[in-house]
């Protein structure tokens, strides 16, 4: 059905690497350049590449828009919950060194959770943007 064999094979080879790189950037964010913003976009790029080659429906079967919306909200909620948790633990908003007894470990825990929230939200918002624009184009340009 899809004549672009080079694209299909190339994408299948590339996408796992992109996703892996996204995860690397996500979890190395607190030591080296990276973090949730960049990782989220890289992650979304993998999905968008897949959608460009295999069609929007195929992707939406695997990653339905409703789930993407929910994750976007959950990511933001996770971010703010960490802030509220540190307020409840006796610090200021987002002062995560009070989360655990060991301040250094608490800092690491806090930033990893925060970046996770950012990453999930950025990825899902980018995917949502793609879904909404690509979905609008369907009726006119349904070629392949």
């Amino acid at each position: 059905m899809n004549p672009h064999i080079v694209l299909r094979v190339g994408a299948k080879l590339l996408i796992p690497v992109i996703v892996l790189f996204g995860l690397y950037v996500q979890f190395h964010g607190e030591y080296s350049p990276g973090g949730g913003f960049q990782a989220g976009i890289i992650f979304a790029a993998a999905l968008i590449l897949y959608a460009l080659i295999f069609g929007l429906e195929t992707v939406q079967r695997a990653v339905p828009p409703g789930a993407v919306h929910a994750l976007a909200g959950l990511g933001a909620l996770l971010y703010m919950s960490i802030g509220i948790w540190s307020m409840l633990a006796g610090g200021n908003f987002l002062e995560y060194k009070v989360l655990l007894a060991d301040a250094q470990r608490a800092e690491i825990l806090g930033i990893i959770l925060i970046e996770l929230g950012v990453g999930v939200t950025v990825a899902t918002v980018a995917i949502t943007l793609f879904y909404s624009f690509a979905g609008r184009m369907r009726p006119e340009q349904d070629g392949g």
């Binding site: 913003f37 950025v122 943007l129 909404s132 624009f133 609008r136």
Partner: protein
């Protein structure tokens, strides 16, 4: 040739004026958004270039370096880029809806249609 030493600001000024001109002069909604993007990009370049220190390296501790580039503007601009992406998406979404409602993206054609209605 002292003014050439500040070439980064010239880049910023040229980009900014190009973007601004496109926003004002173009009647097409998409072109306006493109202009707005160029305009905002000039500000990003401005922030990044003002963070640069002669001979400065990345702000990671390395044996033997004393000068570091200021990382704060980079972080600010990361935020501003996200804002700009959101704005572009918003603008394009509005443009799509305008096109669906009017069948055109040209400002004067849309205004002409509105005047017919009124």
């Amino acid at each position: 040739m002292e003014w050439l030493g500040l070439y980064n600001y010239w880049v910023v000024v040229v980009l900014m004026m190009t973007g601004f001109y496109v926003v004002i002069a173009q009647g097409n909604l998409i072109k306006k958004i493109v202009g707005l993007n160029i305009f905002q990009t000039s500000v990003f370049v401005f922030y990044i270039s003002l963070a640069k220190l002669d001979g400065g390296t990345a702000p990671v501790y390395v044996e033997g370096t004393t000068a570091y580039t200021n990382p704060l503007p980079h972080v600010l601009i990361l935020t501003a880029i996200v804002v700009s992406v959101a704005l572009t998406a918003m603008g394009l979404a509005l443009a799509v809806r305008v096109y669906e409602a009017y069948g055109s993206l040209e400002e004067d054609e849309i205004n002409a249609q509105d005047e017919q209605d009124a």
